[in-house]
Symmetry: C2
Subunit: 170 residues, 2 copies
Amino acid sequence: MLFNLTVDAYIRNLNHLKNILTKAKAWQESAGFKEETLLNAHLGVDQFGLARQVQMAADHAKKGSAVLCGIEAPKYEDNEKSIAELQTRIDKTVAFLTTLTSDMVKDDLETKMVPLNWMPGKGLTAKFFVENYSLSNFYFHYTTAYSILRNFGLPIGKGDYMAFELKDIA
Amino acid sequence: MLFNLTVDAYIRNLNHLKNILTKAKAWQESAGFKEETLLNAHLGVDQFGLARQVQMAADHAKKGSAVLCGIEAPKYEDNEKSIAELQTRIDKTVAFLTTLTSDMVKDDLETKMVPLNWMPGKGLTAKFFVENYSLSNFYFHYTTAYSILRNFGLPIGKGDYMAFELKDIA
């Protein structure tokens, strides 16, 4: 069940994010402004721009899932310079996530510690890291990427964020 | 575990949202603009404003948790006209959530259907509703409320959204 709420949900939502970026790219081209403007678009003056929000959503999905399964996550450089490269980053992340299976979920999540790289010497239990830190950070950065594009004027809606598949509706 | 990722997480994050609203109110008063301007602030031109985002975050938390435990959620009117009233809405929601306990979690989530009021005659399994629909909608509206305030200029940061407590850090 925890696997479903994390790994499976990350795969599904990262694919939604990839589709939103496809719409953003087509819109940028038809509107005739620079792709760089889109990549750097942001909300708060001291918040990260679109490209970094996408990288962070993918990274929280990757790290949270790796901790859940007790393995090392692959490392990717943050060097994407286009929407297409951000989509490749998403594809790589999803490819990693699809190698994970629910029987890999560790049973020592409550005792194992995960260091926080921004707080040297401190950490969270793997359980708190997976269930709270990664999950809420993933949705934060996914929603913020969506919100940046909404605020910028891209005609998308909640259906792009949720992206139900017909099979989910009885 | 599902209870922890939903009911417990909703309580914790709704309290973070309440604290963010306290900062927003103090900032609005010190900056000297109308409270109504804050309540109506929004990102996309056709997106809901701050007040509605807060109501929706609280409602998704309430409904998802009620479905998880197989009970009816209390209904609240959407009539809040101030930050203080939105905070009362959060308090009422948290008070309801704290009446729930993990032993109330239903074991028929995979077979029970939850109707979608915006799609007459259609519905989701309670399992999909709780694990996917409510959870991702909750984080969507919580993050969007945060993003509206960030975009508006309120000096808050990720620490307000995550709001770790010291006890979580070992």
